[in-house]
């Protein structure tokens, strides 16, 4: 049966995050011919609405207010609730990002609804909408559904393909008038620490370093390789614990769970907790001087060698072939 699906889109530095488009694609699937409505909130988001149509939204709702310049659960929670109450969707999809993880459970609680977090795939089984999600940080998976009522889910970046961009698509943009009151948490300041613009959870390519990089400076050749590939830099807990990098880079069971197209592990031994966070990547490359290292058991391609020799050579080689293209 056709359904009305609300997709909460998200922007970062004035650009829509790709996961917004992936969530629209997921929404299309669930809508089964019904309407997909994308909502975007922020201080100034008018420039972003076109792309939402290009990637498949049938209708767009924008909510603009200076109090939405940074995310707060109260501010964004009020806006999304108002939109939900006015359109009464059958399903609501959020990106599984900092924002989605923070606001979706609040709304689910408010609506007394079931929420499926971190969905990596969606299928229709008769009238049921079945979501796949990782459990035990990717050591296993489960299929889940919401039993009744409005369906809420957060969509993990990089797993559901966005639709082909179609610039001929357009539609009507509705402006949701919002009055934002009673903000109980106030963001005083945002300190930008992420080194490059590429976010780990959304990155198509990740270059990750472990204790084998030996120092903070040891991450430099990895960063150079990442720059050439447009990749994000990640790390093992070994590297974080040794203070070579910030904990926000940690990948694994107690860090980020990532599924890029390409994961290049440099000087990482491949402990079970690390593998939990990255072994569902499409292609894994391991560079390690120990041929017995466990990481080689999950790697598609391995180079046994000193990362300080191999990584710069790899950077050179990629530079060469990517330039001639």
């Amino acid at each position: 049966m056709a359904k009305k699906v609300l997709v909460i889109a998200e922007s970062r530095e004035n650009e829509l995050r790709n996961v917004s488009f992936e969530a629209i694609a997921a929404g299309k699937e669930i809508a089964a011919g019904g309407e997909v409505i994308a909502a975007i909130a922020g201080e100034n988001v008018s420039a972003l609405t076109d792309s939402l149509f290009h990637y498949g939204a049938d209708r767009v709702i924008k909510a603009e207010n200076e109090k939405l310049s940074t995310y707060t659960s109260d501010g964004y929670g009020q806006v999304f609730l108002q939109i939900i109450n006015s359109i009464e969707p059958d399903a609501i999809l959020f990106p599984h990002t900092s924002m989605g993880k923070d606001v979706a459970p609040k709304l689910a609680s408010k609506l007394d609804a079931g929420l499926i977090s971190d969905a990596t795939a969606i299928e229709l089984d008769g009238e049921d909408i079945v979501f796949t999600r990782p459990i035990y940080s990717g050591k296993a998976f489960e299929k889940k559904k919401v039993k009744s009522g409005v369906i809420l889910a957060t969509i993990r970046p990089n797993n559901i393909s966005a639709l082909e961009k179609d610039e001929s698509r357009s539609g009507e943009v509705f402006s949701e008038e919002v009055e934002i009151k009673d903000l109980r948490t106030i963001v005083k300041e945002v300190v930008r620490k992420s080194t490059s613009g590429v976010d780990l959870s959304e990155a198509k390519v990740i270059v990750a370093g472990g204790r084998g990089v030996k120092s903070e400076d040891g991450f430099e050749p990895l960063q150079e390789l990442a720059d050439v590939l447009g990749a994000a830099v990640g790390a093992s807990r070994g590297a974080c614990d040794a203070d070579y990098c910030d904990y926000s880079l940690q990948i694994g069971q107690t860090g980020k769970v990532v599924t890029p197209d390409l994961y290049i592990a440099c000087g990482i031994s491949g402990a079970i907790q690390h593998l939990a966070g990255m072994s569902n990547s499409k292609v894994i490359v391991a560079i390690n001087k120990d041929p017995e290292a466990n990481i080689f058991n999950v790697a598609d391609y391995g180079i046994v060698g000193d990362l300080f020799e191999v990584v710069p050579l790899l950077t050179q080689e990629f530079k060469k072939v990517l330039q001639t293209n």
Binding site: K106, D261, L314
Partner: protein, 256 residues
């Protein structure tokens, strides 16, 4: 200060997952305090040491959770509460939130700390769901917490950036790695923990309507991902290996 920690018992991170009859097997599995909840417990103890008051650790689960609650007491928490849900037919984040909210209904609290996500189901829903249900503000993934009077100044991790947030108590926060270095229970701590109060409540002793707290979601299937085969280890001179790798990534794997 009345400080509460909500704590979950989870599989040790070393455990491999085995599925039997569609369920995750717990046979021979070592359990631990959910790693993020250790940060919450440590932070709670430090808050109490700085501001006075009491730390109560609350966990919903089976009888077995007593072991992890004793560990929390050995770290330095003052009291523990086990809400036994073994008789419950079904449960999900909605149910767990409802039970916790019912527990807190007649409590006085200044701050509730939890982990930002569990190590098993990993939804991260409980913190925000519970705060919303209780009508208090929340801040997730915190890496620093200072309390002055009734004002909390917090640093939170937002995908690598740091947000500095101010909020008023009563408040719920969820811990991110980097918040602190959780202590190991000391031997005297372990001895003392044996005598500290550990209250056990059956979930149906809470003020709940059983028909109202049923799970909103249903798990249909659990499975293991396809086993990753060990791949190709390249050979030859380093230069050649590197060239070969780049070629393979572009032509065979087609990821670059």
């Amino acid at each position: 200060m009345n400080i509460f920690v909500i704590m979950k018992r989870t599989f040790d991170t070393e455990e491999k997952i085995v599925i039997e009859n569609g369920k995750i097997s717990e046979e021979g599995v070592e359990f631990i305090i959910n790693p993020y909840d250790e940060y919450a417990i440590e932070e709670a103890i430090q808050l109490r040491d700085d501001h006075g008051g009491e730390v109560t650790v609350v966990s919903i689960g089976s009888e077995e959770v007593e072991k992890e609650l004793r560990t929390a007491l050995a770290m330095g928490a003052d009291k523990a509460v086990l809400i036994n849900n073994e008789e419950l037919d079904e449960s999900d984040q909605y149910t767990t939130t409802a039970l916790l909210a019912a527990y807190f209904e007649d409590k006085e609290y200044d701050i509730i700390l939890g982990g930002n996500v569990s190590n098993d189901n990993s939804t991260g829903q409980i913190g925000p769901r519970l705060a919303e249900k209780m009508g208090i503000p929340y801040v997730t993934t915190i890496t620093k917490l200072d309390i002055d009077g009734s004002t909390a100044t917090i640093e939170r991790d937002v995908e690598g950036d740091v947000e500095i947030v101010e909020a008023q108590l009563p408040l719920l926060v969820t811990a991110q790695q980097g918040l602190n270095e959780p202590r190991y229970p000391s031997l005297p701590g372990i001895m003392k923990a044996k005598k500290k109060p550990l209250e056990e409540i059956d979930y149906d002793e809470l003020d709940i309507d059983e028909d109202e707290i049923g799970a909103k979601t249903e798990t249909l299937e659990r499975y293991l991902p396809p086993k990753k085969e060990a791949g190709k280890v390249l050979e030859g001179e380093v230069d050649n290996q590197v060239q070969e790798l780049v070629k393979l990534l572009r032509q065979e794997a087609k990821v670059i």
